[in-house]
């Protein structure tokens, strides 16, 4: 079977757009270019109709009412709107937010911002498998707590948090529950009613839609949730997000959601089989470790550490053929490896030695087979030139070596 190089296995960063999505979008750039807020002519009506239809397609994927979808520029904006919007709207009720250390930066940095504005934020540690401790969550709740913000599926390790249980705890204490579901929506069944979610952020470009569009789900009943707008203007999106709607991208987002809904069952099965093949082959190597909970995990994600080999050096062995991401941060000024892997309790050495695999709709078995061989060969080659591997083989405990930190 032919392989189209380079092989793309970084689908957690972004996905290629499905050609069917592009096809749906094209008319809305040129012939059907109207402003969905123009009420006086057919150009506006056509655009509004297209947005309404897309809103239904999006709503159907997550089982909500179309009116509960607030279109944004992406998940980062939706995260900001949910956190800052709730913090401001519910200020009279309290100022405490609970989140966890493995959240995406869009959540963590927004929480830091809220702290500067008088908010209190608790960052829950996660267990070694990446899941949060529900007892710890409940113990952290105070009378001032207004929001629990825990992600659905993690972008680095793919671990799926116990969403229903978290929602039940939030409900019991009359606290809102927000989840960043960017990696989960479209990949696994996400049902805001069954899951008990009050607010949820997600994005089109992680599910074969265009970049620059996402949504915040905001529950309208039981309870009716409101967020303070973070952008002032024409009062679009029920007053929660002003700004002319990005009609072509919203149309694409809708189509992407529809395709995911229709193809999810078969696709999740196919991807988890490919992911397992990759993971089983690579984890059979000496000193290779799969990071994160194996059972509660997104079907298309695997994160594996190859001890005694540095991640970026490893990527260099095949980066012309395979596009992958590493938890190593040799390129960053701080030289800090992945904070997510460190939050699991991994030593910096293992965090530096990790690769993140994100499979996707266009990943083929031939690509996985090629990847297995390429990684195996490179790991073996680099271990031959790794002083740490030599020391490990000699039985030296690396923790006892007095390293010259720089």
């Amino acid at each position: 079977m032919d392989i189209n190089f380079p092989i793309y296995l970084d689908n957690n960063a972004t996905t290629p757009m499905d050609p069917r999505v592009l096809e749906a979008m094209l008319p809305y750039f040129t012939q059907k270019f109207g402003n969905a807020a123009s009420r006086n002519h057919s150009f506006g009506w056509v655009a509004e109709e297209a947005v309404d239809y897309a809103r239904e397609q999006v709503a159907q994927l997550i089982n909500c009412d179309p009116k509960e979808i607030i279109f944004t520029s992406g998940a980062t904006e939706a995260d900001n709107l949910a956190l800052k919007g709730v913090f401001e709207m519910y200020a009279s009720k309290g100022n405490h937010i609970i989140t966890c250390t493995t959240e995406h930066k869009a959540v963590l940095d927004t929480c830091k911002h809220i702290e500067k504005n008088g908010g209190k934020v608790s960052y829950l540690d996660v267990k070694p498998d990446g899941l949060i401790d529900l007892e710890l969550l409940e113990k952290t709740i105070t009378p001032q707590t207004i929001l629990i913000a825990i992600m659905y599926g993690n972008n680095e390790i793919g671990v799926i948090q116990p969403i229903k249980e978290i929602a039940a705890i939030a409900k019991k204490h009359n606290i809102l529950f927000f989840t960043d579901a960017t990696q989960a929506v479209g990949k696994i069944p996400v049902d805001v009613i069954a899951d008990g979610i009050d607010l949820m952020a997600f994005s089109a470009h992680k599910m074969y839609g265009p970049k620059g569009v996402g949504a915040l789900y905001v529950r309208r009943k039981n309870p009716r949730v409101k967020v303070t707008a973070q952008m002032d203007g024409g009062g679009h999106e029920r007053g929660m997000r002003s700004g002319t709607l990005n009609v072509p991208s919203i149309v694409g987002f809708g189509k992407a959601c529809e395709l995911c809904r229709l193809e999810m069952d078969a696709e999740a099965k196919r991807l988890s089989a490919l992911r397992d093949k990759l993971q089983n082959a690579l984890s059979q190597m000496d000193e290779a470790y799969v990071n994160g909970n194996l059972e509660h995990r997104l079907p298309h994600v695997a994160n594996i550490s190859f001890k005694y080999v540095e991640g970026e050096g490893l990527l260099m062995g095949f980066n012309k053929q395979i596009a992958l991401s590493s938890g190593s941060a040799c390129t960053s000024a701080s030289l800090e490896p992945s904070y997510v892997l460190k939050a699991l309790g991994l030593g910096d050495d293992l965090a530096h030695s990790s690769l993140r695999f994100g499979l996707g709709r266009f990943t083929t078995e031939a690509e996985i087979d090629y990847t297995i061989n390429a990684i195996r060969d490179t790991v073996l080659k680099l271990r031959e030139m790794s002083p740490l591997w030599e020391m490990f083989k000699e039985g030296i405990d690396l923790d006892t070596v007095a390293w010259a930190h720089h």
Binding site: G313, H352, S386, P387, E390, W403, A404, H406
Partner: protein, 133 residues
Amino acid sequence: MAYSEKVIDHYTNPKNVGTLDKESKNVGTGLVGAPECGDVMRLQIEVDEQTHIIKDAKFKTFGCGSAIASSSLATEWLKGKTIDEAGKIDNMDIVEELSLPPVKIHCSVLAEDAIKSAINDYRAKNGLAPIEE
């Protein structure tokens, strides 16, 4: 970030990967960096005790492509130099030769440290005063 061709060449065909007998009196070993920092270099030199000329040099490196290339290049430069000449190799020479970008300068610093550390290990074994690291 794109790597320079020289970095890619050293990474693909590293020169002088290997191990010398660290117990030997005329072998100096420098082990620098730390696993937590994402790079560890071990550089070894075998020195002619009469002339103080480096006869052989070997390295093993755990790190990114630039770290591997920096140490591979260092071993090439060391061979044939006296230990005094070797001690004058500056990390910026490595930066220039490999066209390392600013975020990778620490790789060259590590290589310079490894060279000096290997020289001083040899000097200590042979009753010579250390050079400044």
